[in-house]
């Protein structure tokens, strides 16, 4: 098995490791580090359940090869809530934007990215911002309400 040395920052901590070259960032997070907050849905970039932030950009971690992470700064759902539950997560709870919860980490990461680029999105921008995340339970209405709440557009 071909391996590669990687060195990157994950949720504020430096990771140095030697890993097989042919695994994805998602595989590494879940199977090697047991950080199972990031979910695997489709495994091909359709559902967004595996969304993480790399160098400030939201990406599908199922479509990132582990060597591509070398030298980068990665933020996962676990890192987002290092200091307790964030306002975004609070808003999801308040609005009842969670049913089975499988898509929620990805939704929260996409919301985090959207608000980092556009702190006060309108509904159209929220829908566009979450367009890479599928939810099979809620019908999206409450998720959109949650993002509005998190952005201060609704109290």
């Amino acid at each position: 098995m071909k391996t590669i040395k990687i060195n990157f920052v994950l949720n504020g901590e430096e990771i140095v490791d030697e890993v097989p070259v042919n695994i994805t960032l998602l595989d590494y997070l879940r199977d090697y580090l047991r950080l199972t907050g990031t979910k695997e849905g489709c495994g091909k970039g359709e559902c967004g359940a595996c969304t993480v932030i790399i160098n400030g950009r939201s990406v599908n971690s199922c479509m990132v090869l582990i060597p591509q992470v070398d030298g980068k700064n990665v933020l996962t759902i676990e890192g987002l809530s290092n200091d307790g539950v964030t306002e975004i997560q609070e808003a999801f709870v308040e609005e009842g934007a969670i049913q089975c919860g499988f898509c929620t980490p990805g939704m929260v990461m996409s919301t985090y990215y959207l608000l980092s680029k556009n702190p006060h999105p309108d509904e159209e921008e929220i829908r566009e911002g979450l367009s890479g995340n599928l939810c099979r339970c809620t019908g999206y209405k409450k998720i959109i309400e949650a993002v509005k709440r998190a952005s201060g557009g609704k109290k």
Partner: protein, 288 residues
Amino acid sequence: MKEFEYLKPRDLNEALFFAREYKHRKKFLAGGTDLIVRLKDNLIREDYIIDIGEIKELKGIERKNGEIYIGPTTTHSEIIESQITKKYAPLLVEAVKTIGSPQIRNRGTIGGNVCNASPAGDSIPALVISGARFVIKSLDNERTIDIKDLFLGPGKTSIGDDEILYRIIIPEWKENEIGFFNKLGQRNAMSISIASVAVKLEREEGNKFKKAFVSFGAVSPVVNRATRCENLLTERELNSKDYIFEAASCAVNEVNPITDVRATREYRREVSKYLLYESLLNLLRIGG
């Protein structure tokens, strides 16, 4: 995922060296939004994956001498956010905005969209009507080709296996030009085009246009210009719905679609016509 050798060249020169060394046994990796899925599905037979995603010489957007130069590993998001492309390549921006999702656009690159040569690649019709040119490099050569000489068929380009796409050049959008990119998919986000169309019209006066550029995506093996539609669009002033419908109807003879999981050949042919017709009415603000 299949086993492979991962190589990460430090600069363009080293990448070109690897290209010459491994030729058809290698695949370039940029954003990976297509390649990694295909690696997982064991659809890649090449044994060397060459990561060119971080080579500085292949990234960025510049404006010089009335043209826009885009490095191939520039991401879709970077094109959407750049002040240069927003102002001088608005139609490309419009097209790229319809690709995938925020996550895909943050990762996928314009060069990847071009080099994959999918007939459904959403940047391609916009590049065709812009008259894009491509600078292609190998270790000891550099050549520039027109977009009409780039695509050979679905998934096939004329870029050699020891070459790398170095720049995409598009002429600046002019003040007397109007246009649109419109696509039909299953939904607005995350959908692969069933049919798409890009149009650029160069205004002479009022609704009379001296030049027209029309290109359909996802409805032919190779994305080309629809010259018969173009000719009709410059022949007369575009004021009547009937005449615009006649011009748009030419689309059925210009496209050569296939039946696949997304739509049938017949549907694609018909819908190309209406996609062009409705978008033209919308662009020219002719009520319906």
